[in-house]
Structures are given as structure tokens and as C-alpha cells.
């Protein structure tokens, strides 16, 4: 599977112009805060509209300004993991995990609940409330929830930034496993060089709304 982006946008008051491709495995989108990394993810997820350009995932055009294509976020099949887990506080862990799974057509599902909970070590948390989980557990559930929607591309926006070092160490092996087991591209936004070195197969470096290398 592959991923292709070539877009221009205006974010706040600075112009953003980004083009790169990614393949299966983990590609780090690396750069200082304010470089426009999260805006790139938001455009891919469909919650921020580029001014012009094209975004293609696995042969499916998600956005194309010339052809007037702009798929709604719920039709993009792009998994998004945020810095804060954003679990639904009124639903149990189980129902959080299955939220996107149930909305995915059965023939399009490749992720199985039992496999995903085993992979992330969260099987014992299924009946709990999100509020009773630690930060690391919440983030693992958020990863599981995104995976269970069987996405064709996984976006991770500084998923470790709000965790302390011990919690980071708790999550990192799981992300390595995702990288090695999943047959989809993962775009991983970070400004932490150690995470890039440990996780990334490819690096796209951004600064001031531009790709500077990669």
C-alpha cells in the first residue's frame, strides 16, 4: 500500500506547501512545533481542507482540487491517533474499541478485536471506564480503537508527547509491533529525535510549512 500527498494550504497566516510519498512501514514527519505537521495530518484525515492539491491512499483519491474530490472524514478510512487519547468518556473501553469497528463494512475489516486487544495488551481493560485508565493505557486503547476501524493509513500525532518517560517506554514496543505487523503506511508526527531514530524507516523533515528533506 502507498500514500501520496501534494497540497498547498493556508494555515493561520503562514502558507503551507507539502509533497511527499510514503509506503508500508513507519514514516516520521519530523520538525519543530509550528512547522505545520499536525495541519498535514488534519488535511489527510479530512478535517482541514487544503487550498489545492491531491491526496491519494492505496489508489483511492481522498482529495483532488482539480477533479473536485473531497471525501468526508468518515469515508477516508484513515486512522488518527491524537496526542491526547480522546476516548469517549461516556462509553466503556469495550464500546470505545468497537466504535469504528462496527461502522466498518464486514468485508473491509482486517483487524479482529481479540487480536488487537492481545497485540496492545488491553484485554483486561475492556469493561473499565476510560476515566479510570492511566495515560499509557488510554493511549493504547486509542490505538486499538483506530486499528479496529481497519484503516488503510494510520496517522499518529505525537502520541507519546503527553506521557512521562516510563509511560513512553511502555508504549514504544507496541508501536514497533504495529510498524512491523501492519501492512499499511504509518505517518508519525514528532519533534523528538530519539523517537525518529528508534521507530522510523523513512523521515520527512518539515520546517516553516515546507518539506526540507526526505
Amino acid at each position: 500500500m502507498s500514500f501520496d500527498i501534494d497540497v498547498e494550504a493556508r494555515v493561520g497566516d503562514f502558507p503551507l506547501k507539502v509533497a511527499f510519498t510514503a509506503t508500508t512501514g513507519l514514516t516520521a514527519l519530523f520538525g519543530p512545533s509550528g512547522a505545520g505537521k499536525t495541519s498535514v495530518l488534519n488535511m489527510i484525515a479530512g478535517v482541514l481542507r487544503p487550498k489545492r492539491g491531491r491526496i491519494v491512499v492505496d489508489g483511492v483519491t481522498l482529495f483532488d482540487s482539480d477533479e473536485g474530490v473531497n471525501l468526508a472524514p468518515n469515508h477516508r478510512r484513515v486512522g488518527y491517533i491524537f496526542q491526547d487519547a480522546r476516548l469517549f468518556p461516556h462509553l466503556s473501553v469495550e464500546r470505545n474499541l468497537l466504535y469504528g469497528h462496527k461502522l466498518t463494512a464486514p468485508e473491509a475489516r482486517y483487524a479482529h478485536p481479540d487480536q488487537v486487544t492481545a497485540l496492545l495488551g488491553i484485554g483486561h481493560l475492556r469493561d473499565r471506564s476510560p476515566r479510570s485508565l492511566s495515560g499509557g493505557e488510554q493511549q493504547r486503547v486509542a490505538i486499538g480503537r483506530a486499528l479496529l476501524a481497519s484503516p488503510k493509513l494510520l496517522l499518529m500525532d505525537e502520541p507519546l508527547a503527553s506521557l512521562d518517560d516510563a509511560r513512553k517506554e511502555e508504549i514504544l514496543p507496541y508501536i514497533e509491533r504495529l510498524r512491523d505487523d501492519l501492512r499499511i503506511p504509518i505517518l508519525y508526527v514528532t519533534h523528538a529525535a530519539p523517537e525518529v531514530n528508534r521507530l522510523a524507516g523513512a523521515v520527512v523533515e518539515m520546517s516553516g510549512g515546507r518539506v526540507v528533506s526526505g
Binding site: 468518515n74 477516508r76 488518527y80 469517549f88 461502522l103 479510570s132 480503537r145
Partner: protein
């Protein structure tokens, strides 16, 4: 103390009816207004806001007077309803419900608006990326999270509708069995010699109903929070 006369029961029954229908009528409009005020930016938003809150700050008799001008038998809206749907509002209990709804609307919108503002929009964004349409995200995330405030708004509106006096008596007058609601009945009793005992009975009853509404809302709110698992 609690052996009410048929006329008193009528007033109680009428007030409950007015409160119920006033609140039910308010709910859809109140929610849409609250949602728009909480989420959408548009020109003249503060003007709309001001108009919704107007009944809260205007003397109720002024609101009743405006209602009379608009919905009275000769008022433009009153004539429209009469000619188009055959509905008469003036001097009917439906008019009392309308007055109650308009007086209760600001309280309802205020409570709902705050609860919608408190819903984290990033959760809705998460739902969308998980495959939920806008409507599904609304019904599975926004609405349940805003529910305690929606409920509180409905109860406030009911309490206001149940006890509305000034706008009601100005708009639909004081007709026994049709527009003489509980507070208007109390007022009438106090105007007649020897009515204090009956007035006190009705006053006690209004305390009971109002307290039950507030406690009931609190109980439901707690249940919602418990279900949400805090």
C-alpha cells in the same frame, strides 16, 4: 389540608398541562437555538442572543402585551393561525402554553448552550475519523455528552412554565378552567375575602411540584453521570 375543590384541581391540572406542553414545544427550538449559539458564528449573533434572552429581562407584562398584539384575535399571527389551521390561541390554554414556552425558552437555551459548549469538539473529530457521519457523531457523542444540560434546561423551562404568571394573565386573561393556572388561581383567591386558606393549599402544592421537578432532574442527572462511569 389536601382536600382540594374541583376548581383547584382544575388549576393544578391546567398548570401541569401548560408546563408540559410549554416545555415539549420549547425543546426542539430551544435545542437548535442553543446549538447554533454554541457552535456557529454569524453576523448579528449577539442580536439573536439578545432577542432570545429578552423575555428573561423584560417585565413579563410587556411580553404578554406583545403576545397579545401578535397572537390576539386581531393580531397578524393570531389571524394567520386561525385562518390557516383553525387554531385559536388567544384566551385559550394553548395561549397560556405559548406564553409559558416563551418565558421558559431563555432559561432552557442558556442551560443547553453551556452544556453544548462543554462538549469537546475533538471527540466529535475522533468519531468522524472512525467512520461516523456527522449525524452519527452528533447522536452518539455530542448529544449524550450534552444530555445533563439538556435535561436541566428542560426542567428549568418546566418550572418556569408551571409557575408563569405575568405574561400569561396579560395575554390570555383569567378564565376558570381555560387559562386560570395555579399561580393565577392563587392570585384570584387572594383577591377574594376568605381565600387565604385555599391560596395556602395551592401554594403548598406548587412548592411540592417544583421541588419534585428539581429533585427528579438531579436524580436523572446523577444516573446519567453514573452510567458514564465516573
Amino acid at each position: 389540608m389536601f382536600d382540594f375543590t374541583p376548581a383547584e384541581w382544575e388549576a393544578v391540572h391546567l398548570s401541569l398541562n401548560v408546563g408540559l406542553w410549554g416545555t415539549l414545544g420549547c425543546l426542539p427550538l430551544g435545542f437548535v437555538l442553543a446549538y447554533v449559539l454554541a457552535r456557529v458564528d454569524f453576523p448579528l449573533k449577539s442580536l439573536l442572543n439578545g432577542i432570545i434572552y429578552l423575555p428573561l429581562v423584560l417585565p413579563p407584562v410587556v411580553t404578554g402585551f406583545f403576545l397579545l398584539l401578535a397572537f390576539g384575535t386581531r393580531g397578524p399571527l393570531g389571524q394567520f393561525l386561525e385562518n390557516t389551521f383553525g387554531i385559536t390561541i388567544a384566551f385559550r390554554w394553548t395561549g397560556a402554553a405559548l406564553a409559558a414556552a416563551i418565558m421558559g425558552l431563555p432559561l432552557m437555551v442558556r442551560a443547553m448552550r453551556l452544556s453544548i459548549i462543554a462538549v469537546d469538539r475533538r471527540l466529535e473529530m475522533a468519531a468522524r475519523t472512525l467512520g461516523a457521519s456527522w449525524w452519527r457523531a452528533f447522536f452518539t457523542v455530542t448529544l449524550p455528552l450534552a444530555l445533563p444540560g439538556i435535561l436541566a434546561g428542560a426542567v428549568l423551562c418546566f418550572a418556569k412554565s408551571f409557575g408563569e404568571f405575568g405574561a400569561t394573565i396579560t395575554f390570555v386573561s383569567n378564565i376558570p378552567g381555560e387559562t386560570r393556572t395555579l399561580p393565577i388561581a392563587i392570585y384570584s383567591l387572594l383577591q377574594s375575602p376568605g381565600g387565604e386558606a385555599a391560596a395556602l393549599r395551592l401554594a403548598g402544592l406548587s412548592v411540592v411540584v417544583s421541588l419534585a421537578a428539581v429533585l427528579g432532574a438531579e436524580w436523572m442527572e446523577r444516573r446519567i453521570i453514573t452510567r458514564a462511569g465516573t
